[in-house]
């Protein structure tokens, strides 16, 4: 019995769609996200990331089938939030509250909140606990929110652009904390961000979304094996193009070609090959000429 529960996907979507008037923000997407993953949901602005997440979090209506931890998010948001946490793309902590009052409130409504843990996180920051949220810097607000979220024993954590507008030091620390002190095989984390290269190393899975459709779902490891970039040696351009690159570009006066699922032997002699970063794979998928 527990096995089926354990193996059941955290999120199961079938033909999930959402329109705003005549604009289709999500076009019948289907996917499963299992437990114990850190999934990067990556897409350009307006690709449908937030629409998708809002449906998952029970913040908006939708068409199609969607189950999150076995619940219907549109109808059971209150119940769902026992096991789901989220930080959305804008600062949402109530500005009029003092830091400790926020903790008091969460403690009084959330049975899975561990105040001691939250205070331990806070003690490592410079956040003055008697201050109001509006008096904190942007970075402090994010740290506070993260301290609260990490002190909640949830199964699914959704972070929508959590580090937007923060400096690099904060961002590194943020993901470090997340990976080292929060994530385990009993939890799933979904992250959207534009700074793909910063989270690349912590992601176990990636989903690319474009114009309301999922264009790629893969494990990160498999992905870096799938894609390879070739710095085409001078004079080999025609041969390289003949192998059907996923996308082509140029850097330092050399043509570069990104190939998907290609036999490495075919590239021997055509130039130097190298691993492709997630950001480049994303760009290749979004702008790929073969698409």
């Amino acid at each position: 019995m527990t096995d089926t529960v354990m193996n059941a996907p955290v999120i199961k979507a079938r033909g999930l769609a959402k329109s705003f008037g005549s604009f289709q923000a999500l076009k019948q997407v289907s996917f499963d996200i299992p437990l114990g993953r850190i999934v990067g949901l990556i897409g350009a602005n307006g690709a449908g990331k937030t629409t998708l997440l809002n449906a998952v979090l029970g913040l908006s209506s939708y068409q199609g089938e969607l189950s999150v931890l076995g619940l219907n998010p549109a109808k059971q948001r209150g119940k769902l939030m026992h096991d789901v946490c989220f930080i959305s793309d804008v600062a949402t902590l109530p500005k009029w509250m003092k830091v400790l009052e926020v903790l008091d409130f969460v403690q009084s409504v959330h049975p899975k909140f561990d105040r001691t843990k939250a205070l331990a996180f806070l003690s490592r920051t410079k956040i003055p606990q008697a201050r109001k949220v509006k008096a904190l810097s942007k970075g402090m607000v994010v740290q506070l929110h993260l301290a609260i979220v990490m002190a909640i024993d949830a199964k699914l954590l959704v972070l929508d652009e959590p580090t937007l507008g923060l400096d690099i030091m904060f961002r590194k620390q943020f993901y470090k904390n997340l990976l080292e002190e929060y994530f385990d095989e009993q939890r799933t984390v979904i992250i959207t961000t534009h700074q793909v290269e910063e989270i690349e190393h912590i992601l176990t899975d990636v989903i690319f979304i474009k114009d309301g459709e999922l264009v790629l779902e893969a494990k990160t490891e498999a992905l870096s094996e799938q894609f390879v970039e070739l710095m085409v040696a001078p004079g080999k351009e025609v041969e390289a193009a003949a192998l059907g690159p996923h996308s082509t570009g140029s850097s330092f006066g050399k043509t570069t070609c990104v190939y998907q699922n290609i036999d490495p032997k075919k590239l021997t002699g055509l130039g130097e090959t190298r691993r492709v970063g997630l950001a480049d794979i994303f760009v290749a998928c979004m702008t790929g000429e073969t698409q």
Binding site: L59, S60, R77, L80, F86, V90, S108
Partner: protein
């Protein structure tokens, strides 16, 4: 239940300027004026017998206070029987200032309840908590409509008690005054309970109007004040122009307090002494309560209020 209490606490914390500081400041001003009047000007205080109390058939209580040049003379003449009641009536009048702010606190609290959280985006934080929208909306209705008047009454009670203490102190120095007369405790408690009961029926009648204001705050993306006020005005104007009637205006008026006059028709009393006022107010309350429960408009209003609250809950479920 624990969650609901936490939500109410949060609402009070959020609106503590309106809910707590406003009545406190006004009570402070009342007390200051009172102390200036009693101590600062020595003999010229007012403690006066309320000679004529007319409860007119329109339900409102008109109190005529006659002033006397030498009030301490009057006090001497005041019979032991009427003085405690005089004091209770007078202390309500002296502590009435905080109540003037109450309708504004009520209206603007309801108007901002679901609007501000969307404007500052904190709605997304509240929604990340395991709290249903039904509980949220009900807490945001319950706090201004039920908790606030209790807070106001509490402040007024404390104010009345302090005034009693001041007058008792004064009595020590004035001939013919007995400190005990300023402590008609049972009568004071009686008046507090009556005030609560009166509010209860006022609020039940006003519930559709109050729920309308909360409903507006759940959908207005901007200018909630205009949303709350303009549609009723437009309806009243259109009805006036097309049908030359005032049914809607009367309906709103009835629910905002005229019910009292409507169902108290023919109820006319002349009060000789302040001591009689409590019996009469008690009668009116009892009469108003029973007549309300037998009144179709009363129940219709409650049903409309329920519908508007349901609408506010549905809208909050999709609020971002």
């Amino acid at each position: 239940m624990k969650t609901f209490i936490a939500l109410v606490k949060r609402e009070i914390l959020n609106g503590k300027n309106a809910y707590v500081y406003t009545p406190l400041v006004l009570a402070g001003i009342s007390l200051l004026l009172f102390i200036l009047a009693t101590i600062g000007f020595g003999n010229s205080i007012y403690l006066d017998e309320l000679k004529n109390l007319n409860i007119q058939s329109n339900g409102s209580v008109v109190i005529v206070v006659e002033s006397h040049e030498n009030s301490s003379e009057v006090l001497k003449e005041t019979t032991v029987k009427t003085r405690p009641a005089t004091f209770v009536v007078a202390s309500w009048m002296m502590s009435s200032l905080p109540w003037f702010s109450f309708p504004f606190v009520l209206f603007f609290s309801l108007l901002g309840a679901l609007y501000e959280e969307r404007r500052d985006r904190s709605v997304l934080f509240w929604k990340s908590m395991p709290v249903s929208d039904t509980q949220e909306v009900l807490a945001k209705f319950f706090t201004p409509v039920v908790v606030t008047p209790v807070v106001f009454l509490g402040v007024v009670i404390v104010l009345q008690l302090i005034m009693g203490v001041v007058l008792s102190g004064l009595a020590l120095f004035q001939e013919g005054l007995i400190a005990r007369d300023f402590w008609p405790i049972s009568m004071m408690i009686n008046s507090w309970i009556m005030a609560l009961l009166f509010y209860l029926f006022w609020a039940l009648w006003a519930l559709p109007v109050l729920a309308w204001v909360l409903f507006v705050s759940s959908f207005a993306t901007r200018l909630p004040f205009l949303w709350a006020v303009l549609p009723p005005i437009v309806i009243i104007a259109i009805e006036q122009m097309l049908f030359d009637s005032q049914n809607f205006r009367n309906w709103v008026g009835t629910h905002l307090g005229n019910w009292n006059a409507d169902i108290a028709t023919g109820y006319s009393i002349n009060i000789e002494h302040p001591s009689e006022i409590f019996a009469v107010v008690g009668d009116i309350l009892w009469y108003g309560a029973t007549a309300s429960l037998a009144n179709g408009q009363f129940w219709l209003g409650l049903i409309i209020a329920g519908g508007l609250l349901f609408g506010a809950i549905r809208l909050r479920q999709r609020a971002l």
